[in-house]
Amino acid sequence: MKALNIMVVDDEPGIRELIRDVLTRHGHKVVCAENGVEAVGLMSSDPMDVVYLDIRMPNGDGLMALREMRRLRPSMPVIMITGSARRDVLDETMELGAFACLVKPFGMNDVVGMLQVLGLE
């Protein structure tokens, strides 16, 4: 199994580290960003295979970051993370091209399961 370059973007350090640890245990290389601006910057310099992106963040809204990512790397799958399953928000992320949405609190199997669904694992 190929080790993937994965970016986790969430303003909550606990969430970032949790997802990072879960993916690292599966042999993937994970970088973290705490806001959308930082995330877009990291993505521009290092190509990523998958991004886990929180929707609601200060200093760079998740949806703004999603639009930039889709513009810069249309083929890169983005998995949204949200604390609120509001249909209108979910619909907008889907329209912008997100691959899927994980609603907190989600299980760790769901995190890894997304990679399997993408066929990357």
């Binding site: 606990g14 640890d21 907190k104 760790m108």
Partner: protein, 533 residues
């Protein structure tokens, strides 16, 4: 004010006649005295003639008075004078009797008028306390019959804006006449009086030509009086009374008395119209107050829900992040834990963390505004059927019978099928839990269309809800369930969803008589149409 014309014509008539009689009696008395004195003088003279020494009577006079002719003439004169006195006395007695009879008649008339006045006053006092027009008119007619002495009586009234008179009250008339009598203004006697505004006395025997043709039942009715009922310079009807043949005709006094009663009828009509206006305004006011109260209660509830919703949304979001960390870390530890006991503990942490997550999810559902644009026209019966499909088996397993009365072809509502299913599920599950405790029961679910709404009713045979609980049943976090068996948010969420659909939700219950929840949804909701567009 009642005016009696006959009494005012000559109030001193009886007094003058009495004085004249007294004067004549006095004259007669003095005349009698004079005659007696003359008779006595004559007798003295006659006696003197038979005596020789009456120096004051001349011999010639003695001779003249002593003849038989003179004696007879004196006797005849005395007899004539007595006859005259007798005739005069008889005439005086007759005139005296006539005077006494007149006085008695006037006294009777006065007494009758006094009675009429006191009866009119009684009528006025009775009418003051009445709030029903029919009763007032019946009283007035009863008075007309009793005081004036009519055989039949009726009051015809004209509705505002109409040109027809209809009988509003009657006495002594056949039911067929009462029900069918309707007169155009200007036609028939009653219509003429209503048009001209002048009272009328009609005596059948005096009628001729056109009036005779227009008179009603002239072969039976001898005399009738019709007076107008006037209100604010407008003729609003007529009062009619009639006497049958065999009695005396009505007089001017009777017409005056009836006019006084017509005034009372006019006041009664005016009072009732004012009362009706007042009643309808009070009704409108009452309905408005009720609507305001309801709106205020709904506003308070909405504000409460909104503020709690906002708070809930913020808290839920803040809880989700640390919750995610706890859950995730526990799962990671469990994956690595070889020790069974530690593994069980971690499973317990995960289970209870998931419970917290469910609560937070409900809280977020509650806090969510109705910005869901997934509204469409849907069939409520279809949503109900799908909901029951998920729950029916569970309910019948616990001896709960479901009785459905879902009307075919009910109007469609504009709403969110998922949210409505959540509402119905919540209500049905509450009923299920209430009846399960009693070992079973019946849940009746019905749907029907009303004017602009669709109503869905859920009635169970559970233990019922106490009144003090019923008042709070839609409050967030209010629950009667045991700890850990419910968050108390289900019904408040359901309430909020129904409100966001523009509808309403009500609960009725008594202890021991089950509970009934009614959901009312509008057939069309403009705001949702706009959002969907």
């Amino acid at each position: 004010m009642v005016r009696f014309m006959s009494a005012e014509k000559d109030p001193t008539l009886g007094v003058k006649e009495h004085q004249a009689l007294e004067m004549r009696e006095s004259q007669l008395w003095w005349l009698a005295v004079l005659v007696i004195v003359l008779m006595a003088a004559a007798l003295c003279v006659v006696d003197a003639m038979n005596t020789s020494d009456t120096w004051w009577v001349s011999r010639q006079l003695k001779l003249a008075l002593n003849t038989k002719l003179v004696r007879v003439s004196l006797i005849l004169a005395a007899l004539l004078i007595c006859a005259y006195f007798r005739d005069s006395a008889r005439r005086l007695r007759r005139e005296n009797d006539k005077l006494i009879r007149n006085l008695a008649r006037y006294g009777a008339q006065l007494e009758k008028k006094n009675r009429e006045i006191s009866r009119l006053k009684e009528l006025s006092d009775q009418l003051i306390g009445l709030a029903d027009l029919q009763t007032a008119l019946d009283l007035i007619l009863g008075m007309a019959v009793e005081v004036i002495g009519a055989d039949t009586a009726s009051i015809m009234l004209r509705e505002k804006g109409s040109d027809r008179l209809r009988i509003a009250a009657s006495h002594g008339l056949p039911p067929g006449v009462v029900d069918s009598a309707e007169v155009q203004i200007g036609e028939a006697i009653a219509g003429l009086v209503a048009r001209e505004g002048k009272a009328l006395i009609l005596n059948s025997d005096e009628l001729s030509g056109e009036m005779a043709k227009r008179a009603f039942r002239g072969d039976v009715i001898l005399s009738s009086v019709i007076v107008p009922i006037q209100l604010d310079n407008e003729i609003r009807g007529v009062v009619s009374i009639a006497k049958r043949r065999g009695s005396a005709c009505f007089t001017q006094d009777d017409m005056d008395a009836l006019s006084a009663l017509a005034n009372q009828a006019s006041l009664a009509v005016q009072k009732m119209e004012l009362l009706d206006d007042l009643r309808s305004q009070v009704d409108v006011l009452g309905a408005t107050v009720q609507e305001l109260r309801q709106a205020r209660a709904e506003l308070l509830q909405s504000e409460k829900l909104a503020s709690i919703g906002q708070l809930a949304g913020g808290v839920a979001h803040e809880i989700n992040n640390p919750l995610q960390v706890v859950l995730g870390r526990a799962e990671i530890l469990l994956a690595d834990e070889a020790d069974e006991k530690n593994g069980e503990s971690l499973k317990c942490i995960i289970e209870h963390t998931s419970r917290i997550a469910d609560t937070v999810s409900n809280l977020l559902s509650f806090s969510r505004q109705s910005t869901d644009t997934d509204f469409q026209e849907l069939d409520v019966n279809g949503v109900l059927s799908r909901t029951l499909g998920l729950l029916e088996r569970q309910m019948t397993t616990n001896d709960i019978t479901i009785v459905k009365d879902l009307r075919d072809g009910i109007a469609q509502v504009f709403g969110n099928a998922g949210q409505l299913q959540q509402v119905f599920t919540n209500i049905i599950l509450n009923a299920y839990q209430a009846m399960k405790g009693l070992g079973g029961g019946t849940l009746s679910i019905s749907s029907r269309s009303a004017l602009n709404t669709v109503e869905i009713e859920f009635a169970d045979t559970g233990p019922g809800i106490p009144r003090d609980h019923l008042a709070r049943i839609f409050e967030p976090f209010f629950t009667t369930k045991a700890e850990g068996e419910g968050t108390g948010l289900g019904l408040s969420i359901a309430y909020g969803i129904v409100q966001s659909h523009g509808g309403s939700m009500q609960a009725h219950s008594s202890v021991g008589e089950g509970a009934c929840f009614t959901v009312v949804l509008p057939i069309r909701q403009a705001s949702c149409e706009d959002k969907a567009a």
